[in-house]
Symmetry: D2
Subunit: 304 residues, 4 copies
Amino acid sequence: MDFGEVLEEIAAEAPQQVGRGKVASYIPALAGVSPEKFGMAIHTVDGVTFSVGDAGEPFSIQSISKVFSLMLAMRIVGDDLWSRVGREPSGNAFNSLVQLEYEQGIPRNPFINAGALVVIDALVSVLQEAKICFLEFARGLADDPGVNFDEVVSQSEDTHGHVNRALVNFLKAYGNIRTDIDTVLDAYFHHCSLAMNCAQLAHAFLPLANNGVSISTEDSVLTALQARQVNSLMLTCGLYDAVGEFAYRVGLPAKSGVGGGIVAVVPGEMTIAVWAPELDETGNSVMGTRALELFSQITQRSIF
Amino acid sequence: MDFGEVLEEIAAEAPQQVGRGKVASYIPALAGVSPEKFGMAIHTVDGVTFSVGDAGEPFSIQSISKVFSLMLAMRIVGDDLWSRVGREPSGNAFNSLVQLEYEQGIPRNPFINAGALVVIDALVSVLQEAKICFLEFARGLADDPGVNFDEVVSQSEDTHGHVNRALVNFLKAYGNIRTDIDTVLDAYFHHCSLAMNCAQLAHAFLPLANNGVSISTEDSVLTALQARQVNSLMLTCGLYDAVGEFAYRVGLPAKSGVGGGIVAVVPGEMTIAVWAPELDETGNSVMGTRALELFSQITQRSIF
Amino acid sequence: MDFGEVLEEIAAEAPQQVGRGKVASYIPALAGVSPEKFGMAIHTVDGVTFSVGDAGEPFSIQSISKVFSLMLAMRIVGDDLWSRVGREPSGNAFNSLVQLEYEQGIPRNPFINAGALVVIDALVSVLQEAKICFLEFARGLADDPGVNFDEVVSQSEDTHGHVNRALVNFLKAYGNIRTDIDTVLDAYFHHCSLAMNCAQLAHAFLPLANNGVSISTEDSVLTALQARQVNSLMLTCGLYDAVGEFAYRVGLPAKSGVGGGIVAVVPGEMTIAVWAPELDETGNSVMGTRALELFSQITQRSIF
Amino acid sequence: MDFGEVLEEIAAEAPQQVGRGKVASYIPALAGVSPEKFGMAIHTVDGVTFSVGDAGEPFSIQSISKVFSLMLAMRIVGDDLWSRVGREPSGNAFNSLVQLEYEQGIPRNPFINAGALVVIDALVSVLQEAKICFLEFARGLADDPGVNFDEVVSQSEDTHGHVNRALVNFLKAYGNIRTDIDTVLDAYFHHCSLAMNCAQLAHAFLPLANNGVSISTEDSVLTALQARQVNSLMLTCGLYDAVGEFAYRVGLPAKSGVGGGIVAVVPGEMTIAVWAPELDETGNSVMGTRALELFSQITQRSIF
C-alpha cells in the first residue's frame, strides 16, 4: 500500500472540515493559529516516512507532551508512580476538580491535567533540572536537537493558568504534590508549550510502535511491556472524554492536544501524527480525528 | 506454542488466589457458588480448542450477556441505537444513577446496566418475542441449542432488582425507554441469567475475533467493522470502572460479569473465556483477571 | 394593622406578575390551570380570617402535603423517623437521585420527594389505612370534612410518575422502604393530589403558629417543641433549592407546592396561604413568593 | 429570668461533653488549644451582660469573621454583591470545589470559603486598605480597640492554605476574583485569624439583634432589613452542612467557626457567644451547639 497516496487522499478532505470546530482560544498564542492548517506524517518502524500538507510546520503540542512526561517518569520513577495516579478514564472534562475531590487527591490517570501535574512532581522530586531533562528527552525521541519550548506559549499558559494553579494547590492539600508548586507549574507550562511538527512527533512516538526501542539509537527507551502499557493508557485515557468514541471510530492508541495535534500508534508497524487546529467540544481536533478514521478505514489498520 | 500447557500453568495459580475477593452475594443463586471454581477455555479461529478445570460447568454469565444484546441490536437496529446510548466509559459504578441524571437519560455506554436496558428496549421495540430471539441468537453463537436461561436466577434478579427497576423508570422519565417497563426488565433479567460454560462462551465470542464471521456457519454475524467496534467498546467500557487497569495489565478487549466470568478476544486469532467466582471491589473476577494477565504475559498476546 | 387592606394591596400587584413564570405542565391536570389565578388568605391564632381573590377556590396542594405527612409521622412514629431521613437542605433539585446515591439511601430531608416517600413508608408501616388516616388528618387540620383527594390528579401523577417510581425503587435497594412499593406510591400520589383552597390551608397550618395546638379543638396536634421543629424544617428545606433566597426575601417558615401554593407561618400570630400557579425555575410560585415578600415588608413580620 | 443562672446551668454540662469531638488540627495554632475550654457570654440589646467560664479568653474566631466581612460588604458594595455570590445552603462541605465547578464559579453563599473569598475580593476592589478597614470595623463592632489579628494563626493559615489557594484560583478562572489573588488570600487568612473572646463577640453581633443599630454609638451599622437578611443567611448557611440540624435543635440564627466558637442571635433581644474547641464531623463545636440547644430549651427562645 502506498501510504503517500493515502495521505493525499485524506488531505483532500481537510478543506471540507474547516469550520466544523473551534481553534483553542484560551491563550492568544493558540487563538492566532490559522484554522486551515493541516499536516500529517507517517513514520514506519522500518524508517520510511510519508507526509502531506503542513507536516513540517511546528505547532504547540500541548497535552501530547503528557506522553513524554509519562514515558520519562516510567523510566525514572518506575511503578511507585502508580500509587499517586490512577489508570482509569475519567468520564469528565480534562481539567475537572470534581473527581479529584471525590477520589481524595488521586488523579484518575496521567493524561488529565491533575495526573500530569503529579507525574511532573514525581520528575521534579528526582531530577535536578527536570525541565531541561524533559526537553533533552523529547529531543532524543524526535532525534532532533532543534525541538524547543515556546516561551511565549509557556508564559501565556502561566498567565491564564488559574485552573491548573487551582489543581496543583488542591493536589498539594491532599499531599499528592511533594515538591514546590511553582516549580511544578513552571515545568508543566513548559512541557505543554513544546513546539513540534508532525514529522518530529511521528518520529518521537516510534518506540511505542517498536517494543520500546528507538530506531535511531536502537536503545530501549522503554521495555516492550512499558511501551504496551503506554499504548493502553493512550487508548483508555488519551482523548479526554472521547476515548470510547475515538476507539470506536479509529481503533488506534493515540494522544491529542488542544493545539490540534493527535499522534496515533499502529503497534509493530508505524506512527501517525496529524495536525488540524479546530477542536470539537471534547477538545480533540475535528479533522485530526477524521483523518485518522479515514486512515484506519483505507488501510484497515486497527488494533481491534 | 502449546496453549493447553499455558492453561495448565495458569490454572496452577488459581488456588493461591482463592480468598482474595468475594463471591457476588446480592442474590442467593450466585452467593451459593463455590469460590474455588476455576475454568478456562480457548477457541482459535481455526477451530482448535483448549480447556482446563471447570471449563465445562455452566455459570451465570450476567453482564457478559450485554455483548450478545449489543451484537443483536447492531444487526437489527443499526446506527439508530447510538442516538440513545453513548460510547464512553462511565468513570462510575456500573449501576450508578448519578451520571444518568447529569447526562439527561442517555447512558454512557451499552455495557452499564442503564445502557443495556436501553439496548434491550430497542430490541423489544422491533422484535415480537425479543427474549426468545435473544436466546436463539446466543444458542447460535455458542453453536449449542442447550444454552438456556436459568429461571431461578432470573426470578431472583427480579426479586432483588430494585436498582435496575429504578434505572428503567428513570430512563422512562427521560423518554429513553419506549416500550413497556416490565417487558424490558423481564428480558433484562433473563439475559443476565443465561447459563453458559467457558467452552460455550469462547465459541460464542469467536465472530469478534474473526471479522464478524461465524466459524460454524461461515455466515457474517456482524460486519468486520462492527466486530472491531464491539471489541473497541469492550476495551473502553467492558470491565466496569476498571477498564484502564485491565487494558494496562491484560491488553485485550474483554467483557466481565458478576458471575465471575470474563471473555477476552485476540483479534484475528482466538477467544479466551475464564471463570472464577470471587470478585474484586470493581466487580471483576480476581482470578479471571489474573488468568488473562498471565495468558498475555506468557503468550505475548496483546493488542498494544 | 388592617390585614384585609394589606391583602388588597398585595393582590393589586398580581396581574403584573402574570407571565413571569410557567404553570407546571408535567401532568395535564395541572397544565390546564389558568395562570391568572391569585388567592391569599390569612388566619390568626385568635381565629380572625382575611382573604382576597381566589382564596376560596381549591387547587392541587402537591408538596405542601408533605408537611401534613410529616406532622402525622411525628405524632405516630416519633423520633425513630430521623434514623431514616435527614434534616438538611439538599442543595439540589427536589427530585434528584444524585444525592441519594452519594448518601446511601438516606434522603436529606422530609420535604424532597425521596424524603416524603420514606415518611409515607413509615406511616404505611404503622397504619392500617394510611391513605385514609392521612385524609382524615388533613380534614381535621382544615376543620373541613369536604377536603378530598383529586382522583384525576392522583391518577395522572401515577401515569407520569417515573421519577418517583425510580426514587422509591432506589430507596428500596438501600433498605429504606420497608413496605410495599405500590402502596407507598399510591399514598404518595394521593397525598400530592389533595385539593384545598387558601382558606383551608391557612386553617390547617394554624397549629404550627400556635405551639402545636388546634384552635378548633384546643387539642395538641403536636407538642410546642414539635411545632417549632416543623417550622425550622420548612425554613431550611421547604422551598426546594430556593430556601436561602426565600428566607432572605420573606423571612418566614413556609412550604410550597408545584400547584402554585405556598403556606407561611408567623409563629405565635398567624398563618398565610397564597396561590398563584406560575412557577419560577426553582419550582416555587412567582407571585406567591412575591406576595409573601410584600406581606413581610408591609407588615414587618419576619422571624429574623 | 436570670440568665446568669442559665449560663451556670449550661456550663455544668460542659465537662461531660469533653471527648465527644475533635479540636481542629489542620494548623498547629489551633491544634494546641485545650479541649476543656468553655466560655459563654450573653449581651442583651438593653446593655446587660452575663458570662461564664472562659468567656474572657480570646480564641481564633475563624469563619465567624465571615459575618463581619459580609456586613462590611453589604454596607460598602451593596446589592451588586449578589450577582457574584448566591444565598443558598450548599449541601456540601464548606471547602468543596465540586459545587463551584457545577455552578460555574458562583459560590452558593457568603459563608462557605469560596463565597467569603468573593466577598473579600469585593472589599479589596473598593477599599484602599481592606484588611485594616476590616479590623477597624470589627473593633468598632466589639467596641474594643484591643481586638486584633493573630499573626501566628494567619501565617499558619497561609502555610497550610492549599485548598483556599485552589479555591481562589478556581474562582479567578471563572472571572469571579477581580483583584490580586495574593491580596485576597492575605486578607482572608487575616480575617480568619481574628482573636476575640465570647464577651467581645456577643457585643459585636448586637446590631443583628437590634435592627442594625449599635447600642454603643446608636449608629445604624446596617439597615433593619439588612440585619434581618444577615440573620436569614446565618440560619440557612451559617453552620456548614449542619444548618438544618442546628435550626431544628436550637432555632436561632448563628455562625460557627472551626476555632470552636458559635455566635447566635435572638432578634430584638440579645446575642449569645459560646466557645468550646472540640468539633463534630460537620466542623461545628460539639459543646457550643449543645450549649445553645440548652439555652433554647431553658429560656424557650427560638425564632420558630
